[in-house]
Every structure is written in structure tokens, then in C-alpha cells.
């Protein structure tokens, strides 16, 4: 099993008040799954994504990634896991503006301490896979929204992570471009990548093979197409 969430709680403290964001979440995700996490804003889907992405840790319960308990790790250990196992794709792309597309894609390799030898080949290969070879030396500001998201996907893929976590990846794109991006995710999943998609749009969620719906921090439904 790739991801095992067991009795997961996340509570935020706002002043003296405790605000529960996730309540007793128990979900398993197998390798090569294509899962969408759905729910209205405030349902806890972002919190869940942050925990699965190792950006945050649960207050209670257990999260095992590839059999390893994540909830007790420190900052740097979490960073190692993000580096090796997680590829993020964000709604607002989050590319570094002063770097070219090529450099943006290369960055996870550098943080992952990949040796310089062969690094450039791997970047080219990955950029080619998202169809951006011609734009590789352009900065994000010189690229269209769709192109930026392709760069972000290449960046997420470069370290060959176990999970690709996409947070509203089409939220800032027009519907045609959004559809193109969703096609890329489909191909990636067909090629054996595990994808977790966070969205509030039903038609985007329907690209996934399994949909988990959250409501008020709890799992409301878990359906596999």
C-alpha cells in the first residue's frame, strides 16, 4: 500500500479555540491509483492535501507512506520525503520567476542532491515529455498559463515521485487549456504514476478513477468509477 491514513485528525488552534479541520479520516491509496479529493471550501481538502504532501503533520492518527510513519518526522525528514516521493502541481503554478523553465524543472534535482552528471539530459527528457522543448529557456513570464502549468508538471515529475499531488491544477486556466492539462495527467496515470487531484469542480474530478468527497472534515463518500 502506498498511502495509509488511519483515524487522522487535524485540529487548528485559533486563539483559545480549537477548530477541527479533519475528523477521523481513514483512506488507503494504492500505487497507480488516480484519486480526486473533492469538497466545498472549508471541507478540509486542502488540509488533507498538505498532510499527504508532507507539508503538515496530523494532530492525531497515523499516516504511513510506503509503510513509513510520517506523523512523527521533523522538518528536514519531511523535506527529504517531499523531495523523493512527492511532486506538487499548484493552482497558481508557483514557478520561480527569475529562473527559466529549464532551471525551474532542474531545481528539485538539485535539492534532491542528484549528481550534476546526467542532470541536464534528464531535464531535457522531462521537458520534452510535456512538449515544451522549444520554450525551455524562457522565463515563466514569457509563457502562457498552459505552458507554465506544463513546466510545473515537469518539475513535479523530475524526481520520479511516488505521488503527484495536484491542487486545483486547472483553476487558473481556461477550459480548453484545462482540458489539455487533464489529458497530461491521464497519460501520466496510464504510464503508471499515482495521481491525487484536489478540486471542487465535479467535471475535473470526473477525470479521476476514484473520487473521495469530504464534508466538514469527514469523508462523505468514496466511490470508484
Amino acid at each position: 500500500m502506498l498511502i495509509e491514513l488511519d483515524g487522522l485528525f487535524k485540529t487548528y488552534e485559533v486563539g483559545t479555540q480549537k477548530v477541527p479541520a479533519l475528523k477521523n479520516i481513514t483512506i488507503d491509496v494504492k500505487e497507480t491509483e488516480y484519486l480526486a479529493i473533492m469538497g466545498p471550501s472549508g471541507s478540509g481538502k486542502s488540509t488533507l492535501m498538505n498532510i499527504i504532501g508532507c507539508l503538515d503533520i496530523p494532530t492525531e492518527g497515523s499516516y504511513r507512506l510506503k509503510g513509513r510513519e510520517v506523523g512523527t518526522l521533523d522538518d528536514d525528514e519531511l523535506a527529504e520525503i517531499r523531495s523523493a516521493e512527492i511532486g506538487f502541481v499548484f493552482q497558481t503554478f508557483n514557478l520561480l520567476p527569475r529562473m527559466t523553465a529549464f532551471q525551474n524543472v532542474e531545481l528539485p534535482l538539485i535539492y534532491g542532491r542528484a549528481s550534476r552528471k546526467g542532470r541536464s539530459d534528464r531535464v531535457w527528457e522531462t521537458i520534452d515529455a510535456v512538449g515544451l522543448k522549444e520554450r525551455a529557456h524562457h522565463r515563466p513570464s514569457e509563457l502562457s498559463g498552459g505552458q507554465r502549468q506544463r513546466v510545473a508538471i515537469a518539475r513535479a515529475l523530475i524526481n520520479r515521485p511516488s505521488i503527484i499531488l495536484a491542487d486545483e491544477p486547472t483553476g487558473n486556466l481556461d477550459s480548453t487549456t484545462g482540458e489539455e492539462i487533464m489529458q497530461i495527467f491521464r497519460q501520466l496515470n496510464n504510464a503508471g504514476n499515482t495521481i491525487i487531484l484536489v478540486t471542487h469542480e465535479q467535471y475535473i474530478a470526473e477525470h479521476a478513477r476514484r473520487i473521495v468527497k469530504l464534508l466538514d472534515g469527514e469523508v462523505a463518500s468514496d466511490t470508484t468509477a
Binding site: 507539508l55 523535506a79 523523493a84 520561480l96
Partner: protein, 403 residues
């Protein structure tokens, strides 16, 4: 993250904010520049002063009513009794004293034909003065025992005076007027140069006996002497002190009412003064670098805040705390290091300019450069650590949400 990548990232960031980076560096540039410039000037000054002091003669002991460097109660100085020729002779008879030359001084106009050099130093002394005070005769001869015994109106000219009065003609044998009295030029001395800005060549030396006859005998005498061969400076000085205390009736326990000056005393009081100046300068520059460093810290904090989201992204894609901290620290060090380098070059250029346009032989010393560089780098580390640590500790989730 490899250092090369960290360095490239930092350089990229800094060059994308060129104006801000330059302004941030300015404080460090000025601090480091001032440090190098001032240390170079002081080093140059020291070099030239040390060379000047050599020209006095290294083992001369000069006894006078006042010390060369006066610190303290000047009223007490003024009440002191004159030193007499008899005092000088008594000193001369001490077994520890080798050569001795009493000398007295006044200022008079000196003229030849239509030329007059006003208010020139006139020194009355004995033949020993030539050796003790390191005056070499270039042309003619120095005053002799016979000149002194017979009260001859003979004069030896300093090179500067000779040049002024006799730009073309050979001065030897010519009659000059010193303070209205006629003297025959018997010699011209070799150029000695300056000491602390005062020429050692603008003087006339005449026999001490003639001096007293012509200008009076009520001046205090200066006793220049050197230790006997094989006798230490300190022993000679002690013997001179004892005999003068007795002769001048200084009560036991009272301080000396005369001064025994040596070149090394002068050099050490000079070094004391420049040493204080030096430390004060280093302090001021340290302060300047501190202010510059605070400027760097301020800008780094702004930069961390501005780039919160970038830090979040970097962490999300695998950057560890240390990767982020290192990046910001390197940025701070590049800022201060580059500022330091520019300052050092500027300061050195200033020093060399001074050397070119003034007589001061300003010398850029490796010490000055090393201190400035060290100060700049330390400022970078010191003031970079806090913003960098703060950047490294940012929570990635919150950083990503930052607008």
C-alpha cells in the same frame, strides 16, 4: 544543495535587484574604504617619520630645559633654570659620555648681497656637533676647535640656506651677514631632509664662543652627547641625570627640572599618538561597518518577507532548512563581501592618489586589506544569520499560502 547552485541562485537574486543591492552595500563600501585609506595613510606617515628620525642619529642624547614632546604643566617649564655651558662641560667629563656638543640657538636674518633669508635658525656649537648630530659637510669644512677658541666669525651653511643665498656662486670664503654681524662661510652641509615637516637644512652653524659674543650668553644650552663606546644608553642617561640633579640642586624626591631626550623616546611618543589614532580609526570604522551591517540585515529581512512564497515553493519541492538558510546567508555575505572589495579598491585608490599628489608616502598594507576584508565578511555572517535562519525556519505550508 551544492555550493555552486547556492552561489548562482544568490547572484541571480542580487542582480535582479541591482539598485537595492548597491545601496545596501554602500555602508560597507564606505566603511571598508575608509579603513583601508586611513590605515594606508597612517602606515605611510609612520614609514616617513621613522626614516626622518633616522636622520637625527640613533644614539643621540639631547639634554634641554624642555622635553621634545611637551605634555603637562607649561608654567613649570617656564620657571626652569637655564642649562649652562658649565653644566654641559660637567656632562662632557662623565666617563660614560663619549662625544658632547653644547649648542645654543636663536633666529636671525641672514643675508648676502641683496638676498636675505629671514628668521633663520642660528646654532652655536663645537666641532663635535658635526658627528653627534649627523651633519655631513659637502663643501669646505665644519667649525674647528680653533674657530671656537679664537671666537672666529666662521659660518657653516645648511644646504637650503646655501642654495638661497648662492644659487650660482661658490659660497666658500664669502662674507654673509648673520643678525647684522659679518661671518665668513667656511662650509656647506649636505642635505638632511625634513623631520615632521620641518627642514633640517635651513640653518647656519657658528662657533659657540662667537655666538655668545654676538648674540649674548643668557640662553639655555642644549647638551647633545652620545654614550662612550661599550656603555649602554640607559647607564649614560642615568649618570647625566644624577650629575644634573646635583648641579641644579633638585631636592631628593622632586622630579627633574630638565629633560633628557632620545630618538627612541620621540619615536615612542609619536607611535603612542598614532597608535591611539589608529585604534580610534578602527573603532570608527567598526562602527561604520556595524551600521552598514544593520542595513544589510534590514534589507535581508525585507527580502525574506518578500520571498516568503518562493521559500514555500522551494521547501515544497524538497529544500531543507539548511538549503534555504545557506542561500540567504550567502546572499548577505556576497553583499558585504562585494561591498568590502569595492571599498578596499576605493580606499587603496584614494591612498595612492594621496601618494601621487602629496609628499605623504601612503602605503596600502596587506594588514589593512585583510582587516577590511575580515570586517566585511564578519559583518555579512553576523547580520545575515538572523534573516537567513528566519527564512530557513518558515513553515512551508504557511509560506505557500502567503500573498
Amino acid at each position: 544543495m551544492e555550493f555552486r547552485e547556492t552561489l548562482l541562485t544568490s547572484l541571480r537574486t542580487l542582480s535582479s535587484h541591482k539598485m537595492r543591492s548597491l545601496l545596501t552595500m554602500l555602508g560597507i563600501v564606505i566603511g571598508a574604504g575608509a579603513l583601508v585609506a586611513v590605515m594606508s595613510l597612517i602606515a605611510g606617515l609612520n614609514q616617513s617619520v621613522a626614516a626622518q628620525f633616522q636622520s637625527i642619529g640613533t644614539d643621540i642624547i639631547s639634554v634641554s630645559r624642555y622635553p621634545w614632546v611637551q605634555m603637562g604643566d607649561s608654567d613649570e617649564f617656564r620657571r626652569r633654570k637655564n642649562i649652562t655651558i658649565a653644566d654641559a662641560e660637567a656632562v662632557g667629563r662623565l666617563p660614560s659620555v663619549g662625544l658632547m656638543a653644547p649648542n645654543i640657538h636663536t633666529r636671525r636674518n641672514i643675508s648676502y648681497g641683496g638676498e636675505t633669508v629671514r628668521f633663520t635658525l642660528v646654532t652655536g656649537s663645537t666641532p663635535e656637533y658635526e658627528t653627534i648630530d649627523n651633519y655631513l659637510v659637502e663643501n669646505g669644512r665644519f667649525i674647528t676647535r680653533i674657530d671656537v677658541e679664537r671666537h672666529r666669525a666662521s659660518a657653516v651653511l645648511g644646504s637650503e640656506i646655501a642654495e638661497e643665498l648662492f644659487p650660482v656662486r661658490d659660497p666658500i670664503g664669502r662674507k654673509v651677514k648673520v643678525g647684522g654681524k659679518q661671518f665668513t662661510v667656511i662650509g656647506v652641509m649636505k642635505e638632511k631632509g625634513d623631520i615632521l615637516g620641518e627642514s633640517l637644512d635651513a640653518l647656519v652653524i657658528i662657533p659657540i664662543s662667537t655666538f655668545e659674543k654676538a648674540f649674548g650668553s643668557r640662553r639655555s644650552v642644549v647638551i647633545d652627547c652620545s654614550p662612550e663606546e661599550g656603555v649602554s644608553m640607559s647607564r649614560t642617561i642615568e649618570e647625566i641625570r644624577q650629575i644634573l640633579r646635583i648641579r641644579r640642586k633638585v631636592p631628593r624626591g622632586d622630579p627633574d627640572n630638565f629633560a633628557i631626550n632620545t630618538q627612541s623616546d620621540l619615536l615612542s611618543s609619536y607611535n603612542q599618538i598614532t597608535g591611539v589614532l589608529y585604534m580610534a580609526m578602527v573603532g570608527i570604522v567598526g562602527l561604520a561597518l556595524l551600521v552598514g551591517g544593520i542595513g544589510v540585515m534590514n534589507v535581508m529581512l525585507v527580502s525574506v518577507a518578500e520571498r516568503t512564497r518562493e521559500i514555500g515553493v522551494r521547501k515544497a519541492i524538497g529544500a531543507r532548512r539548511a538549503d534555504v538558510t545557506k542561500q540567504f546567508l550567502v546572499e548577505a555575505i556576497i553583499l558585504t563581501g562585494l561591498g568590502g572589495a569595492i571599498g578596499i579598491l576605493g580606499g587603496a585608490a584614494l591612498a595612492l592618489l594621496v601618494r601621487k599628489v602629496t609628499p605623504l608616502p601612503a602605503a596600502v598594507t596587506p594588514t589593512a586589506v585583510a582587516i577590511a576584508a575580515a570586517f566585511a565578511l564578519i559583518a555579512g555572517v553576523l547580520f545575515g544569520v538572523y534573516p537567513a535562519t528566519r527564512a530557513g525556519r518558515l513553515n512551508p505550508m504557511e509560506a505557500l499560502r502567503y500573498e
